[in-house]
Every structure is written in structure tokens, then in C-alpha cells.
Symmetry: C3
């Protein structure tokens, strides 16, 4: 007798507008996770690297990297939201709302904010707003993602289509920087970059120069660290019969890698305040070498602060080809096939003119 | 002049009945070890994942995974017990007697409780009861294992054969659950499984569905983390001339992997109370994908508690073949050659009827 | 428009005698880093393995492995000192001056103490004394290294040549052991070796027996953990066009690996007090198996202590060949081509005669 106690995940018709899903597996993020994150990506942003630097910036201790928080909060949604997903279509309105310190415990819930069945009657798009909270119930991260999910029963009736109105860009007026953060005595020698907020211009492009090759052991360890259970990342035996023929790397692994590479040119981008959107434009596999380049899309002052400003950055990840000629979508509308990630986000830099 | 300061290990004739070996290398288990353990296996059992969840269950903090404790305690015995082993024959009466919290320091001693020379006069079987203790001297783990060990001198006299009387099954009356543990307010949403003790039936089989491929870097990092020094796991140069032709994966790595896979179907199996026995029925190598299925062998109430019960589980690990048809020993007595592990153990689940 | 905000590193003519460079990226070394270090090398030296053992030796907690401190302090110098290096020529006068405990934040500065342009006019040798300090400003590590660096402009005038006078051997009178350290009750059972300071003789050679194979994921995780950014270790895409054809392993990874292997024969070598010099005599690559052997070069008492002494050790790392016949430079002056590391250093061992 076989049992049915395993998680089959939710199908399109299982989601209801306004439904709130409380996701499993709360997670205490520790210094151990921070060390692994450093070992996996080699990050050098000073605020996350040293308690001493963070204390000099007014914080109690080095905060956990924003993207590590993102991956942990995101990982919890996979069993409920995207186990039966055809594709992860997009993110929007990603806002980091409170710092996470080692020792904090994080959990995630999601509200269904949109549903739209596809015309084929076999799949539909589910929009969720996911919220990560800490052990005090404070929201640390809030974001929207939408995924295309299989229907289990093609005859299940289509819901009334609701597509949420999402901001194309997170409004800097909604940023929530850590309250005690103060870049008044920012040490740009220790941070490793002499370039402050004022030194960047809209339209400026930066080739981040360095490249990093990914191994199977690395992306699997990362993805397990985030307790992300999507099968495609772990099971070579299953994937050899897939169209890809091999394990697919979690898209978030590439986001973290390009963020780390972006240090060389954006070394003072101390925090990610928000992510406006992102596309994984091509799959990546073990053995691929990832490069990155960035473009400054916009600049913004911050309400009530004169020690820091926000840069809206577009960082493009490229595989097996360096970023020296800024591989991108050409004038003919064709995207360079080596481009694997196109990420649009806001970073916080100190101002030099305090 | 070459020195002889390296450890040659003990041979069969070096062991004496009643002898107590105090093993080297005490080890503080930290949050760093816990994070690595998560990165290596992807565990999602809520009690070990989050301090917040553990506190809601009456504990001070998330306890260290039982199997991580097992591997660390076990690793210390290798240089003294099994450096000259032909084969690791079995385990019995494995009992987890006190929780280990990050920061605790563990050490191990072993008593020789049985000796039996083999009729070939070249090897013998050594039975030891190994005990892991923390920095306060409290026993955290106690177990018996027996190994076949080479004699150094074939002419050494055979000891009087003594084979200890070992329980085939750990008696639930001897379980020692953490004193403060209380599942009275167990949150089965956060734990990720709606299935309580009462929901499982003896004879029920569960295919755990997911598969995970193992890389060389992963099993070696795990085995070094446990300070297990068995050469066969680390030395490709030596192993290429071995019958196997390559590095062999530590059997404990497979135990931890199938335990992690078993979450999908046994998500509320919060603790391992004891291990009744286990066999590594075939070797595993890097590149193998491990699947698992389980069978409920027995159920037991727990003395003096109405919030939890124990399930006796048999979990079978299978390589490069999924568990959907429960690969096992057939009626002809032939074991499926893809079966690599057969583990018999007790897990603690909350009751729904508190 | 491309920007020039990336770090181009310093060229030979950028260095001035007496110049002090404050390196970027302070780093808090945590229990997470310690666990990763164990997972990467499998160290078993008891003092670093367990708080309980360290407390019995008079310390507050297990100190961070000396070589982990070295790698972190060293890593910070790479972007400023050796990004344009042709070769890392040597180390001297490496002294560990204060223990680092988990939670300490380390940063590095370097003073240029020598400059000598090569006769080709294209490169020069830069000598720096690098100093690692903790968050209290205490020096934890001090060492000299010299590297051959490219000139950017061949017509830049040569500086007055200054070659510092460096000690061939660190003077034991300058050692700075942790003040509270006391081996009066040293437990040689728990430490795993019965061999004390008095048991070693000058001229004695020890084959450390064990071998360990290195994977790409391992050396890259290690090198990123140290925030060492040298491109040759990470970028397979770039290196496939290099003379080597593949990623080169960070020399410090081999130092840590042979130190770990040396436990089998030098198990009571509790601390490294200083490094006299070291040469990476051949490159290592993923897939290589590393063995090691050691020779006792000298012995020294320690000023004001009768519980410990210092052994001057030469440890030789060998790839893909075991150390049983002590591979070395022959009488014909030809070095065994499998030798990859020749390290000369001082270790501290307890005395048995306290």
C-alpha cells in the first residue's frame, strides 16, 4: 500500500484570489549561513563583511546580505506556489524593509493577488505578494512574483481574470533603510571604492571585468542552503531525460553571483533597497562562467537623509563571454544569446558631500 | 631517518574485552556546522531549522540535527576502531539521549564489549559501545557498532569469543526526549506537513519522490566536517588502483541524505530517538542520484507523554532509480542492486489529539 | 559610455618606499568560517577544534586556525598589491602575534619596505610588510612578502633600489603566544598524539601518509571565503586560453591542506608561531591529490615558559605521489617535479616534563 502523504503542490485551480498561504519551514539565519554565502559568491561589500564596519555605520552588527534574505524567503514559497510551475515569469515591487541580523528567524506567507487562466485552458498565471517576517513579526521583505502554473483538471472553471497593477519601478519614497544607519563617517578606503553616489551618472555603463565559473556542488549547496526544493536543480538522473539534459542552476544563484561581481565598479553599493524587476533570459549550467556589466538607469535622493542616495542599476549577467562590449539586446531587437540575467534594482550608496 | 609517529590504528589483537578507548579530537558543534549540514542535505525539519519554532516547542533553541551529532561522535572513533577495518558490519541500540545545542563540545569514548576471531585467523570482529558526551559530561549519544578488523600478527592468540546480546529494536521505554519538549501547540502549517502520529499506519509505504545527485566536493566536505579520516573517501590517487577505482562515499552521508529526502512524506518526524540497525548494502559514488522510500514498521506511545508518539520506520535508499515501486529484496531473496541503504529507526511525531 | 570605476590595481611605478596602503574589506571571522575551514581541510588539532579543550588550556574559547587568519589577512592585500603581479616570489618573517577568536574583525595594511626594478625595465619587485589588526587595533599577524609586478609605463623612472634585510628564520624570542595559554594539564589522549616536544629530534622525517584530492568547488569556495580575488582561481573561461589551460589553485589552499595532513605525525603541533619562508614550487589543479611529509629542522625552548617548546618544521607538499620516500631536491640539485610546496615554519608543542 502506497501512501499519499507527499506534497503534490498546488495547481492553478487550487489558488483563490485573496487566499493567504502560510509557508512552511521557518529558518534561523546564522553566521554559518553568512559564511557559506561568502564562500559561494565571494562578496566584499564592507557593510555585510564586518561587524566593525557596520558598527561604524551605526548598526549593531553586520546585516545579512539582502539577497541571502531574499533567497531564504523565496525558498519557502516553492512547495506551495511553484512546485507545478511551468515558468517563473517575473518579480516586481521587491522591497527590503528591515535588516536581518544573524540569529533572526524568518518565515514567509503569500497572498494571491491575481489569477488569469491562459487561453489554452491548461495553465494559468498566479500572482502572489510574498512577505518575509522575522521572529518579532516585523516585515523584512515584501515582493510580488508571478508564475505560470499547470491546471490539474482542464475542466475546472476559469476564475475571473484579475491582473494586479504593479509598479514598474519601486518608488524610492517607500524605501525603508535601517533606522540607525549613518554614512556620515563612511570610510571609502575600507569599503574598497572611492566612488560615491555623486560620482555616478545616468547612462554610465560599467564592465565588472571579473568572471566566475560555477560548479555543480556550489549551486546545489547554495540552493539547499535556501531550502529551495525545485527538483530541476538537484536531480541529474531525472534531468538527463529532460530537454536540458542536465541540472539547471537556480536563477537566484546567478543574481547573487552578479551582485558579487558588481563590487568591482559598484563597491559602495552598500544595500539593495528594492528590485524593480528581473528576467532569467537563458538557463545556466555547471561549467558556465558568469560575467556582468551594469548601467546606471536613474538616481534618487532619499527622503530625510543627506548621507546617502539611491542608484537605479540594471545589471546584465552574461555567460562564457566577458562584459567588455556590454552584450545586450541589439537594435534589431535580438538579445545576445549569452545574456542570462537582466536585473533592474535600486542600491544605496553613501554621499561624499555630507 | 623516517619516524613512526603516525597513527597505525589498532589491529584485532590490540583490542581487549572491557577495554575503554578515549578518542581524540573533542569538537564544538556550532551554528556554522548546522549551516553546512543544511547546505549539504537541504533539511527542512522545522525543529532543527528555526530557533523560533524550537522555542514554540519548549526548547531553548533549535537543536543540532541528530544525525550531525551521530556523524561527529562516530568520526572520532575511526582512528582507533576502524582504521584497519575490512568492513563496517552493523550498528545497534543507537540512542539519542540529550539534545546538542550549537556551542556544545562533544567527545567520544568506546568500550570493547565483544571480540570474535574469524576462522581464517586473519581477521576478527570487534564490538564496541561508543558514547558521545558533552562538555558537562552528559551522554548525548550511545550506540553499538561492530567492525571486522585485520590482525597484524596472524599468530597472535585468539581471544575467548564474546558476542554481546544486542537488542534488535531499541525499546521506546528507554527513549530520552528533551525534557522541555512540548508539542502541545505544534504548528503543522509551519512544519510543512499535516500528518500527525495518528495518521500513519503500520505497513504504510511512502515514496519520498525527490532525488538528489551527489558530487565529490559535497561528500568530502561532509566527511571532513565530521573529522572522519577514513582514506577511501578522500584519496582518488590511491583509489584508482582499488577494486572500486574511485572514492567511496561515507555511508553516513547517504543516511543524512535519505533522512532529508524523507521530509516529503514524514515532515513531522521531528527527532530521531533511536536507530535499530542499518546496512549499507551497496557502495555509492559521486554522480549517483539517491532516492528514498519508507515503510512504517511499528508505532509506539511514549511513557508519560500524550503530545507525541514514536514511529518505527524503515527507510530504503536507492541509487539511480526512483522509489515509486519500492525497490527492495524480492520474494526470491535477491535484493534490488540499486538499493544502497536499509535503515531501521524510531522517529518522534506530534500527536494531533492533544 | 564605459566607465573606469573598476579597480585596475597598482603597477610597479605606483609603489613608493615607505608608502602605507590601507586595504579594503574588513572581515569578521565567525564560527561559520571555522566550520567551513574544517569542511575544506578536515583539521583535527584539538585546540582549534573544541572550546572545551581550549578552555582546559587556559584560553577563553577555541582560537581561529592561524592559517585561516593568514588567508583572510592576505586576501585583503591582493587588490592593491598583486593584481598586476607576474609572480608571488616569497614570504618571510610571518609572525602570529595575538589569537583571533570567532567574532573578531580583521583588517590589513601594508607598508612598502623595498623596491627593485628588474633589468628588463618592464617589471620590478615590491616588498611589503603586511599587518593584520583586530577591532581593538591589536596586531594579530605581521609578515613580509615580495612580488614581481608589471610596470604600466616602461619609461617610468626606476626607483632607487632598496632590498630589505629579512630574517631567514623567525627568532623564537619574538614569538607571542596567547598570554593565558597553559599546557600544564595537556591531555594527549584527547589531542590524538602521544608525542610531545621532547619526542622530536632534529633531522627526523615524518611521512604524513594520508592523501587528499582537491575539487574545483572546494578550492574556489576556500579562496572566496578569504575574499581573495585573484582571477586565475575562478575563471575557467579565461584560463582555457592561458598556458595552464585551467584554473590554478590558490597556493594558500595547499598550505592549509598540508597543515591538516601533518596532524598524522604532528598532532600536538597546537599553534603556528611563525613562518620562515615558503615556496610554491609547482602549480596544483583540481583533481590533484596532495600528500605531505615533514622534517624537523630545529628545536627551541620558549622564553619564560616551561610547558611548551617550538619545533622548526619543513613540510613538503607532493602531488599525485605519496610521501613515503620523502620526495625532494636530489643531490643533482633537481627538485622532484611532483613537489608543489616547500614550507618552513615554527610550531608550538606542549612539553611532557612539566
Amino acid at each position: 500500500m502506497g501512501s499519499t502523504k507527499t506534497n503534490a503542490g498546488n495547481y492553478f485551480e487550487d489558488f483563490k484570489l485573496g487566499q493567504v498561504l502560510h509557508h512552511a519551514t521557518p529558518r534561523t539565519i546564522t553566521e554559518g549561513d553568512v559564511s557559506l554565502y561568502t564562500a559561494l559568491y565571494g562578496g566584499r561589500f564592507a557593510l555585510q563583511s564586518a561587524d566593525s564596519f557596520a558598527i561604524d555605520c551605526g548598526l549593531q552588527a553586520a546585516p545579512v546580505d539582502d539577497l541571502l534574505v531574499f533567497h531564504v524567503v523565496f525558498g519557502k514559497t516553492v512547495p506551495d506556489i511553484s512546485l507545478n510551475a511551468v515558468a517563473n515569469l517575473g518579480y516586481a515591487d521587491v522591497r527590503f524593509l528591515a535588516p536581518v541580523l544573524p540569529g533572526d528567524s524568518v518565515q514567509t506567507s503569500s497572498e494571491v493577488i491575481g489569477l488569469k487562466e491562459n487561453s489554452n485552458g491548461k495553465t494559468g498565471v498566479v500572482y502572489v505578494r510574498s512577505t518575509g517576517t522575522n521572529q518579532m513579526g516585523e516585515v523584512v521583505l515584501d515582493y510580488v512574483r508571478w508564475v505560470m502554473v499547470h491546471k490539474k483538471d482542464k475542466d475546472a472553471p476559469a476564475p475571473k481574470p484579475v491582473v494586479p497593477d504593479l509598479p514598474g519601478v519601486v518608488d524610492p519614497a517607500t524605501f525603508a533603510l535601517p533606522m540607525d544607519l549613518n554614512f556620515g563617517n563612511f570610510d571609502a578606503t575600507l569599503s574598497g571604492s572611492p566612488h560615491f553616489f555623486e560620482d555616478y551618472e545616468v547612462g554610465e555603463k560599467i564592465d565588472h571585468v571579473d568572471g566566475m565559473t560555477i560548479e555543480e556542488a556550489e549551486h546545489m549547496m547554495a540552493t539547499r542552503l535556501y531550502q529551495n526544493t525545485a527538483k530541476v536543480h538537484f536531480n541529474a538522473h531525472m534531468m538527463k531525460d529532460d530537454r536540458m539534459g542536465r541540472r539547471l542552476i537556480y536563477g537566484g544563484h546567478i543574481i547573487s553571483l552578479v551582485r558579487s561581481l558588481s563590487f568591482n565598479g559598484l563597491g559602495n553599493a552598500m544595500l539593495i533597497a528594492g528590485i524593480n524587476g528581473g528576467s532569467h533570459t537563458a538557463p545556466t549550467f555547471a561549467g558556465d562562467t558568469i560575467y556582468a556589466w551594469s548601467e546606471v538607469l536613474d538616481k534618487s535622493d532619499l527622503l530625510g537623509r543627506n548621507d546617502a542616495g539611491a542608484l537605479r542599476i540594471r545589471t546584465v549577467g552574461v555567460k562564457n563571454k566577458n562584459g567588455s562590449d556590454f552584450p545586450d539586446t541589439g537594435e534589431d531587437g535580438k538579445r545576445d544569446p549569452n545574456v542570462v540575467l537582466d536585473l533592474d534594482y535600486w542600491v544605496i550608496l553613501p554621499k561624499s558631500t555630507v
